[in-house]
């Protein structure tokens, strides 16, 4: 499989959120606004990219039976690095995402790609896969966040469009499910053609 195909795969055909339905905890949890979705997506992209790269580099040196704990340690380290770096250099974003950053460790997209892709492919295509998947995840989260923010608080990227209360249900947990379901339906419709 060519690298270009690997990259676009993560974006559309195997989009982690819309098609694979992986990593739904942060997807539903943080997307109350577009900026939160974007921040979470980029943090996850970094972890995916780095974890995929390192896992594919060390895969031969890790005995099969202990590969899961080894991968988890690698992933958890990168998540902690993101957590610390964000607290240091993007404090406001860290305040609104803080609770969810440590949860990237157990985001099934990350371990899923390490196990299903990086442990079987070379370094370059693993990096491309991590980047594609990560950006696909970012795209999905930003889109979902934008839809929920627009309907729920009449704003987009924190810019108020109409001075009125929105449909609050979209900012709450049930709205996350509703908005995601409609987006998935739309994606299915579009990709069928």
């Amino acid at each position: 499989m060519s690298n270009v195909k690997t990259f676009t795969n993560g974006f559309i055909k195997e989009n982690p959120v819309f098609i694979l339905l992986l990593g739904l905890c942060p997807t539903l949890g943080v997307t109350t606004s577009a900026i939160n979705g974007l921040g979470m997506g980029l943090a996850t992209t970094f972890v995916l990219f780095m974890a995929n790269m390192v896992v594919s580099m060390v895969k031969k040196g890790i005995p099969d039976k202990v590969r899961i704990p080894a991968y988890i340690v690698i992933i958890a380290s990168f998540v902690t690095i993101v957590d610390l770096a964000m607290a240091a250099y993007a404090f406001d974003l860290h305040r609104s995402l803080g609770l969810f950053i440590p949860l990237i460790v157990v985001n099934c997209v990350v371990l899923g790609r390490a196990e299903a892709f990086a442990s079987k492919n070379n370094v370059v295509s693993s990096m491309v896969d991590g980047l594609g998947m990560g950006l696909g995840f970012t795209f999905a989260l930003t889109l979902l966040g934008a839809v929920r923010e627009l309907l729920g608080s009449n704003a987009i990227f924190n810019i108020k469009l109409v001075e009125a209360d929105g449909m609050i249900v979209f900012v709450l947990a049930p709205g996350a499910f509703i908005a995601l379901a409609y987006l998935i339906a739309l994606m299915n419709k579009l990709s069928k053609k």
């Binding site: 109350t32 606004s33 060390v58 031969k60 040196g61 890790i62 005995p63 099969d64 039976k65 202990v66 704990p69 080894a70 340690v73 690698i74 958890a76 380290s77 902690t80 690095i81 610390l84 770096a85 607290a87 240091a88 250099y89 404090f91 305040r95 609770l99 729920g152 608080s153 209360d165 929105g166 609050i168 900012v171 709450l172």
Partner: protein
């Protein structure tokens, strides 16, 4: 290079190595981000103190004094005159558990202003208690809790609750009351110097 066999020695050694490298890397990142994180936290807190005790940025904010879970920051102007005290307070009875607020009091115990520091309340509803979201907490300005009942109107007090977020409003009042009680005790014990 052939894949490593899953022998006992191999597994132990590999995991040991992976964890060792991860620990080293995290330790290093921690030391370089420690200072920026502390500065960012302090900047944020000082910005909030300036909100609740206007003019604090031109004066001097004292070292925090901790008492019974509350933190007191005595604020002086350039000539050494006390202009107010910022109190970090909290409540356990928010809609999603604990949240922290900061309140400024003048010398007579009147509320100068207040704001939320960290919270997990519902976006679109309970988060209106934060100044960044809605002007709700302006109603406490210039109020003296000795005569002004810090209880929502529904329960027989003087406070207009946030529509559809009575529990968050009650929590905010609880935190304010705690701050006031603590502040009066602090003042009477001669804590303001």
């Amino acid at each position: 290079m052939a894949k490593k066999e899953s022998t006992f020695v191999n597994m132990v050694l590999t995991l040991f190595l992976v964890c060792g490298i991860a620990a080293g890397a995290l330790g290093y990142i921690y030391t370089i981000t420690k200072e920026p994180i502390e500065t960012a936290k302090k900047d944020f807190l000082y910005k909030q103190i300036n909100v609740v005790v206007p003019g604090a940025d031109q004066g001097e904010i004292g070292e925090p004094i901790e008492k019974e879970g509350l933190k007191f920051y005595v604020v002086k102007d350039n000539s050494g005159q006390v202009i107010g005290t910022a109190v970090e307070s909290f409540t356990e009875s928010g809609f999603s558990g604990r949240f922290d607020i900061i309140v400024g009091f003048d010398q007579d115990g009147k509320i100068l202003d207040s704001n939320v520091l960290t919270h997990k309340e519902t976006p679109g509803l309970g988060d209106k208690m934060s100044k960044d979201v809605a002007p709700w907490n302006e109603q406490f300005k210039e109020k003296d809790p000795a005569s002004y009942k810090l209880i929502v109107k529904k329960d027989g007090g003087d406070v207009d609750a946030i529509t559809a977020a009575t529990i968050s409003s009650r929590g905010y009042c609880d935190a304010l009351q705690k701050a006031y009680d603590g502040y009066m005790k602090f003042k009477n014990e001669g804590g303001i110097k």
